[in-house]
């Protein structure tokens, strides 16, 4: 056992888990927890004849995910109530969107912060409403506030003083300094209303956002969970025969053709997700670097392949900002300790 394949295999092909030897279960469970996929695994393997101890551990993971789901939906409700009074729209992103819409990616998924998207000209109003409803800044120093407002795609993080829950208010899906510029207005225009005042992204945009999140906005830490989202969503969305052409068009519109293509190839490689070859394109040499990075775990659930991780860490900052700005940012961060 030398990487997270044991987890991806069990997720993609649950029946294969029956063959897992007792000695291999501890590693699988540790890796699943480290990748925050233990709840998803819990539901995928729910009805299989597995050892009692494993069933109990998976049952626990399901309970945890269910409690988290209820909590996340409550948070959506609270922010919705605050926004409704001011007539602000609420577009849910990522985990909260999956849970609210009942999408398969939500099954067993842990949901962190509430991520929402707003038109940039509504940001000020949203900020005031949230501050008036018990949310507070996590970082209130001038540099952080200025950094987020000038360069980032979201407000500085806010945390509710009683509930302890965090909300990330985005006005687009990539930092303003990033090389690519997704079309935020188009994301909002195409969003789908689930009920008055609560929207989610259109299916194609949701995949573009998931690919952005996985590949264009971070160092791929915890990336397997994002890739599993993509697998779950693609298997559902591709039932609609208009979906693939729409995905191709939206990927181009948001300047995300290569990241979307790569995300599709990685999903196909790691989770055997059926994908449209005309959008996914051909395997490239560097695909294996991404696969190696995504699967870098040892049998204790620890991250391995430090050089690969460092490479992707540097890459994540390189994509986010031009070199001089990066140098200034890291210098300020280092001095602030």
């Amino acid at each position: 056992m030398n990487d997270a394949r044991v987890l991806t295999r069990a997720l993609a092909d649950p029946i294969s888990a029956i063959e897992i030897k007792p000695a291999d279960w501890p590693a699988l469970l540790s890796i699943a927890r480290a990748e925050r996929l233990d709840g998803s695994l819990g539901y995928r393997l729910a009805d299989l004849p597995l050892p009692d101890a494993v069933r109990s551990a998976l049952d626990q993971a399901r309970r945890d995910a269910e409690a988290g789901r209820v909590q996340a939906l409550w948070e959506v409700e609270m922010v919705h109530r605050a926004f409704r009074a001011s007539d602000l729209p609420l577009i849910l992103l990522k985990g909260s969107a999956f849970a609210y819409a009942g999408l398969p990616a939500a099954i067993g998924r842990q949901i962190g912060d509430l991520d929402i998207l707003l038109p940039r000209d509504s940001l000020q109003a949203a900020e005031e409403v949230l501050l008036a409803n018990g949310f507070e800044w996590v970082k209130n120093d001038d540099y952080s506030q200025g950094y987020y407002r000038q360069w980032m795609h979201e407000l500085p993080p806010l945390i509710h003083r009683d509930r302890g829950s965090a909300v990330d208010v985005h006005h687009t899906i990539l930092p303003l300094t990033a090389r690519r510029t997704p079309n935020a207005a188009a994301l909002i225009d195409a969003s789908v209303a689930l009920r008055p005042g609560i929207h989610i992204l259109s299916p194609a945009d949701m995949i573009v956002h998931a690919a952005t999140h996985l590949l264009a906005d971070g160092d791929l830490a915890g990336g397997l969970r994002n890739l599993w989202d993509i697998d779950r969503l693609l298997r559902l969305f591709s039932v609609d025969r208009d979906f693939w052409p729409a995905l191709g068009r939206r990927a181009v519109l948001h300047e995300m053709r290569e990241p979307v293509a790569l995300a599709l190839r990685l999903a196909s490689n790691i989770f055997a997700t059926p994908v449209e070859p005309r959008i996914a394109g051909h395997d490239r040499m560097r695909d294996s670097l991404f696969t190696r990075r995504l699967l870098a775990r040892d049998g204790w659930g620890r991250e391995t392949r430090p050089i690969s991780r460092l490479g992707f860490y540097v890459r994540s900052h390189w994509m986010r900002m031009p070199p001089m700005m990066l140098a200034r940012h890291l210098w300020t961060k280092a001095r602030a300790g």
Binding site: P26, L29, A53, V54, S56, Q60, A61, V70, W300
Partner: protein, 266 residues
């Protein structure tokens, strides 16, 4: 590793050798394997900011790593930060922070006719409301160490003496064979006592609402379990008598406990 094996001698191995939680101690930085080696606490569930310990305290680090997995990961039962002992199928629960003396009282009573259920975590079954044992080695601190050494002739039940730990002097004690053999036998919670070591002997009642608040504060998974935990805890505070007491020395503490137990029919 050798110290761990000796401390856990007599414990049953997991079925098919299958463990479902991983606790880990490891060098915080690669060079810490060789230069002033340290052990960082790690595992499936971790808290940021845990301070690494000297490698000679590795046994304590491992116990803490295991405790952290339970404290942060347990979702089947309501977890109470408390010691518990059992007599006649009824359990006395002793919640308290470290320093309250709960471990020492439980360890002493565990050698005097009671069955030690746990010295750190009591698990409450969310369906039956019964207390489930968790008889891990007891961590004896400072003055409790000579007290227990004088009481227990079998030196193989003690771990190595660890000096200058973050908690002072520390020595682990394996619970009695009877306690380990009954690790799957639950008991009905019949009395909750909050000990406080140091002050003059005194006792005070605790209202149901105060008891509820104290129990939620002492539980690491009450919030995460949601409604079932609320219902279980409400039932507990309505039906189980509770009090707090302070005591200046162990003998007085034991006498107060026995007096409360007599009144509660335990």
């Amino acid at each position: 590793m050798e110290a761990m094996r000796r401390l856990y001698a007599g414990y049953p191995a997991p079925e098919q050798g299958l463990a479902t939680l991983t606790a880990l101690i490891d060098a915080p930085r690669a060079w810490r394997r060789w230069i002033r080696p340290q052990a960082a606490i790690d595992g499936d569930f971790t808290l940021p900011g845990a301070i690494p310990m000297a490698i000679r305290h590795g046994l304590l680090a491992m116990e803490m790593a295991m405790n952290m997995q339970v404290a942060l990961g347990e979702r089947r039962h309501l977890l109470l930060h408390a010691a518990a002992i059992e007599r006649g199928g009824k359990a006395l629960i002793l919640p308290g922070e470290s320093g309250s003396g709960k471990s020492t009282l439980a360890a002493l009573l565990g050698e005097q006719g009671w069955r030690l259920m746990s010295d750190e975590f009591v698990m409450i079954d969310l369906v039956t409301g019964l207390a489930l044992p968790f008889p891990r080695p007891i961590s004896l601190k400072n003055s409790a160490i000579p007290v227990m050494e004088a009481l227990i002739a079998d030196s193989s039940r003690f771990g190595p003496l660890l000096s200058d730990t973050p908690k002072g002097m520390l020595r682990h004690l394996r619970p009695s064979a009877r306690s380990i053999a009954a690790m799957d036998v639950p008991a009905k919670p019949a009395l909750i006592l909050f000990p406080r070591f140091g002050d003059d002997a005194a006792a005070a009642g605790i209202s149901q609402s105060e008891l509820f608040m104290r129990m939620t504060e002492g539980s690491t998974n009450y919030v995460a379990l949601g409604q079932p935990a609320f219902e279980t805890l409400i039932e507990m505070v309505r039906t189980i008598p509770a009090a707090s007491f302070s005591y200046p020395d162990t003998a007085t503490g034991l006498a107060i406990v026995e007096q409360f137990c007599a009144e509660a029919g335990l």
